[in-house]
């Protein structure tokens, strides 16, 4: 349910009219009959969003908000690991690092130094569908942030030295995040199985160590030339700024960046019969066995996806969730349980995972999780249970509004992935509109045994990395 991180916004008074029963109940029970203050906050946010497109194709999203004297600038490029070719995985993430290695006017290390010197923070992130770069600074430093982002959009120092330097750093990151983490290699393996016949998502965002080792500088430079241009980017500014002044600076710095006619990413339709398989991964960092089920499901921001996200909440979000109560608390056969979606623009993956306790056996716990999924398929959740999940979502939406950076990144992601940042304003109602029968219907259609892949992760007894498995 990663998408819940992505959805901050909400709503307008018009949306209240179509709000679901639970939402309406909040209104009715309000003694003063005033609009729900949480919804009002989300409405103000939605109303504040402005969008502009420059002649070079750069999309600009503005979210002025003077609550705090800071400003966040986020540039979202419409390139992620889904855009990588076979044998050249990990390039989008590698560029996330390369973008901090200097540009024409901000020399190597100067981006770090300048932002820190002004009291700011910076970072970047990559997923399958996009990469973003962001700076958060005191509000008097907006112009600096725009200067830095424009400089590296236009004149990034893509050099062999920077490539070699950051390849080594990325490989350290791979060791830290994959090779030195219990259960993670198994989760990576599951994605490879589920998307075996669907190229954009058949590999992890971080790529493979073999591809990073084999990468040639020319390949990396070609990847940059193809994807990093204004017509494949969204510039988002959120915080304490004056929009007219900000747009003037945006035009000064970004206006003459050259359009590259970046090809549009086209996602093939979801396979009618997705690949399924199973594997066993030996893991030197794991103490006890674990397993993870994976199902291919429709893309994010479709009705069935909203229903399946709520299904993941019912299964494993919080200590009152179905699987936590049964497997962790009551029977003590699982140390932890989790359920999530990846929230791809294309076909997505629904995963359910359990890490076993000492006394548990894999078949026993796998059977219990399968039974819980079968219950989702066969019986509608009660209105009270679904309402609890929706209340958690509602709170999370409002808490997510608090930081300029959070709003900037999510607006950028929404504009880049779904074409219109203001669409965030309709997100929460889409969850709240889901009815119990929608959850059951989506589960019955997509969370079936015929669509299920399985990876079992067992503590290694011999050499690391041994992988067995095949079709069931």
């Amino acid at each position: 349910m990663r998408s819940l991180v992505c959805v901050l916004s909400l709503s307008s008074l018009a949306l209240l009219a179509s709000a679901p029963a639970a939402f309406a109940k909040d209104q009715r029970t309000s003694p003063s009959s005033q609009p729900d203050p949480a919804v009002a906050s989300l409405q103000r946010f939605g109303d504040s969003i402005q969008r502009v497109t420059l002649s070079n194709g750069l999309k600009v999203v503005l979210n002025p908000d003077s609550s705090a004297p800071t400003v966040a600038v986020s540039v979202t490029y419409g390139v992620g690991s889904a855009s990588e070719a076979k044998g050249r995985t990990g390039f989008a993430h590698l560029f996330e690092h390369m973008m901090f290695q200097g540009s024409k006017h901000a020399k190597k290390g100067e981006h770090f130094q300048l932002v820190s010197d002004r009291g700011g923070s910076l970072n970047g992130s990559t997923n399958s569908d996009r990469t973003n770069y962001y700076d958060v600074l005191p509000s008097n430093q907006l112009k600096l942030a725009l200067w830095l982002e424009a400089d590296r959009m236009r004149w990034l120092a893509v050099t062999p030295e920077n490539f070699e330097n950051q390849r080594a750093v990325v490989q350290e990151e791979y060791r830290m995040r994959v090779q030195n983490q219990a259960y993670i290699p198994g989760i990576v393996r599951l994605g490879e199985i589920v998307f075996k016949d669907y190229a954009p998502y058949d590999h992890a965002t971080i790529g493979s160590m073999a591809d990073l080792d084999a990468a040639q500088f020319d390949w990396v430079k070609s990847f940059h030339d193809l994807h990093y241009a204004p017509d494949n980017a969204v510039l988002t500014i959120a915080g304490d700024f004056e929009p007219t002044q900000a747009m003037s600076w945006v035009r000064d710095y970004f206006g003459s960046a050259k359009r590259q006619n970046v090809p549009t990413m086209v996602f093939p339709p979801m396979p009618v019969r997705p690949n399924v398989g199973r594997a066993v991964v030996e893991d030197h960092n794991a103490r006890t066995p674990a397993f993870v089920f994976g199902f291919m499901i429709p893309p994010a921001r479709t009705k069935d996806h909203y229903a399946l996200e709520l299904a993941s909440v019912l299964l494993a979000d919080g200590e009152s969730s179905r699987l936590y109560k049964e497997l962790v608390h009551d029977r003590a056969v699982a140390e932890s349980v989790s359920a999530w979606t990846e929230d791809h623009r294309g076909p997505d993956q629904f995963s359910v995972m359990a890490v076993l306790t000492d006394k548990a056996k894999l078949p026993e716990v796998e059977g219990a999780v399968e039974a819980a999924i079968a219950r989702l398929r066969e019986v509608e959740p009660t209105p009270a249970e679904l309402e609890k999940a929706k209340r958690q979502l509602r709170a999370s939406f409002v808490f997510g509004l608090q930081t300029n950076l959070g709003r900037a990144n999510q607006l950028g992601e929404y504009e880049s992935g779904w074409g219109d940042a203001t669409g965030l304003a309709s997100e929460l109602p889409r969850y709240l509109e889901i009815k119990p029968e929608d959850v059951q219907r989506a589960a019955a259609h997509y969370l079936t045994s015929e669509r299920r892949s399985l990876v079992e992760i067992v503590p290694a007894r011999s050499e690391p990395g041994t992988t067995m498995g095949g079709k069931p």
Binding site: A38, N127, E172, E173, V398
Partner: protein, 536 residues
């Protein structure tokens, strides 16, 4: 499920975030200067290049105008007749409220029952409370769109909730029940203890940072026969196994009391409303403040020793280099935090620029001040590096540790660190959760309300010479504790270049399993050091 306030271990690899930067953050504290105080050096230096010319807007980086100057928000104080302290920060931007019930006792008050504070804290919720069974309690909290979080630190235990405004009374009822009327159900204690045991065993096997920290704190706060209150980073499985429900009840009765607690609230609510609600919920709570734990003097670390926490087949080594520095209440604390910032507090720090960006030895590296309420504060340098480069990465950390006290920092370093520490609090206080945490921190550390603003002013007065003095006093690292969690068969021999090696087994109580003598002639290049199994 990962939401706006949640974590996501799985999403890192498939669909979600891989971030560029991972530096070890400082835990120092600063914020905005008060509105009435004179302007301090918060803006970019006047020597910066001028704003870009019309002909070439990129010619020089823009300097910006004056930096906004915002003080830490006002904390309203009150106290109930029973001694419960109330601290309220009102901020009405969003209809949200963060609640913290702060108990001024944490794991430092474990005594001889290592882990009892943490297990007791968890039991307050897990055992049910008031009219609610354990299951009913979590159901009720999650039905409010929230959860009850218990966080046990060294010097405090906090019971936390985050809610939308309309649910304040309901949330406070839950906190009140958990703190005042825990059921301590025996069957739930057995389950909780089993879960804690599983968690401790998994951490020992799977978490190199946890395993390294266990040894680090044991050695930093080694006192001979008596155990120092900060010597246990966490409880091991054997510690948990010994704990009883009766011991948890006793710890609760001694420490979770009205006079040993503060209710900290931040958000869309007025202080008078909080006082009235607190009087209703906590008015009959009783109990005194317990004696603080005795802080005996730590002994100097065992010299010329590297502790290797053995993790066979580990792809990476987690390296910690640490020493005890100044006390948190020291007048030189602002200088200590600024030295730490220069050394490894961020992306402009020396460790990041040298160990990561120049030598490519680590993805994550930095230094941190791990604040404690009493006595000297640990300064910890860290890096995660591939197994064959372990000794080189340790050398890089030691090089930087040595340099920080060997010569004054440059004027540019001082300016950047000062401005970062002062100005970054503008965005570090954006969330109510952060404001509540900072207000709670003032209470736990016994600092005045204007501390953050005073601290910020102090930063502006520091110069290269004063920072150099602080570095020499606190960052000497003449006899550091060094812990490396990694594959002993691969890393032990190269590390003999630096010191004697003691290998410990994290899954068997961190007992020594073997050792190697120091050999200064040993190459630190793993390629020249064949794998070796240290001798028992």
């Amino acid at each position: 499920v990962n939401r706006l306030r949640g974590g996501d271990r799985n999403g890192l690899l498939r669909g979600s975030l891989l971030v560029t930067l991972s530096v070890v953050g400082t835990s120092c504290a600063a914020t905005h200067a008060p509105a009435k105080t004179p302007a301090i050096a918060l803006s970019a230096p006047s020597t910066a290049k001028s704003v870009a010319t019309e002909a070439d807007p990129f010619a020089t980086p823009p300097t910006g105008g004056p930096t906004p100057d915002v003080p830490f928000p006002t904390i309203a104080h009150d106290r109930l007749d029973n001694g419960l302290e109330l601290r309220v920060v009102t901020r009405k931007i969003y209809p949200l409220i963060e609640l913290r019930l702060v108990i001024f006792s944490g794991s430092a008050s474990d005594g001889k029952q290592t882990g009892v504070a943490s297990l007791t804290g968890d039991m307050l919720k897990a055992g049910g409370a008031g009219n609610w069974s354990a299951a009913d309690l979590t159901e009720r909290a999650e039905s409010l769109g929230s959860s009850i979080e218990i966080a046990t630190g060294r010097d405090s235990t906090q019971i936390r909730m985050a809610i939308t405004t309309g649910d304040f009374d309901a949330a406070l009822d839950l906190l009140g029940a958990v703190a005042q009327r825990p059921r301590f159900a025996a069957n739930e204690f057995a389950k909780l203890k089993e879960r804690a045991l599983e968690g401790a065993k998994s951490a020992a096997k799977s978490d190199p940072g946890w395993a390294a920290s266990m040894v680090l704190y044991r050695e930093l706060f080694h006192t001979g026969l008596d155990s120092h209150p900060y010597a246990h980073f966490d409880a091991q499985a054997a510690d948990i196994n010994r704990l009883t429900l009766a011991e948890c009840r006793r710890w609760y009765q001694s420490h979770v009391t009205a006079k040993n607690a503060a209710l900290v609230i931040a958000g869309d609510i007025d202080p008078s409303t909080v006082t009235a609600a607190a009087r209703r919920v906590f008015g009959t709570w009783r109990g005194n403040r317990p004696e603080p734990p005795a802080m005996n003097e730590p002994l100097p670390p065992l010299p010329d020793t590297i502790w290797v926490v053995d993790r066979p087949h580990s792809a990476q080594s987690e390296i910690l280099v640490a020493a005890l520095g100044q006390e948190r209440a020291s007048p030189s604390w602002p200088a200590v935090t600024e030295v730490n910032q220069i050394l490894g507090g961020g992306v402009a720090g020396r460790l990041f620029l040298d160990v990561r960006e120049k030598r490519s030895l680590a993805y994550s590296t930095g230094s941190s001040l791990n604040e404690v309420a009493h006595g000297p504060v640990p300064i910890v340098l860290s890096a995660g590096t591939q197994t064959p480069k372990t000794a080189q990465a340790l050398q890089a950390l030691l090089d930087n540790a040595q340099k920080i006290s060997a010569a004054p920092p440059t004027k540019a370093e001082v300016g950047t660190a000062s401005r970062y520490l002062a100005n970054s609090f503008l965005f570090k206080t954006e969330t109510l959760g952060a404001v509540a945490d900072m207000a709670a921190k003032l209470a736990v550390l016994g600092l005045p309300d204007d501390y953050f603003d005073t601290y910020r002013h102090a930063l502006a007065t520091l110069d290269s010479a004063s920072l150099f003095r602080a570095a020499q006093q606190s960052f000497g690292f003449s006899n550091p504790v060094i812990v490396v969690a990694g594959d002993a068969s691969q890393i032990a021999k190269p590390l003999t270049h630096f010191a004697n090696i003691v290998v410990v087994d994290p899954v068997r109580g961190f007992e020594p399993t073997s050792q190697l003598p120091m050999n200064e002639q040993q190459s630190i290049d793993a390629a020249n050091a064949a794998a070796v199994t240290p001798k028992p």
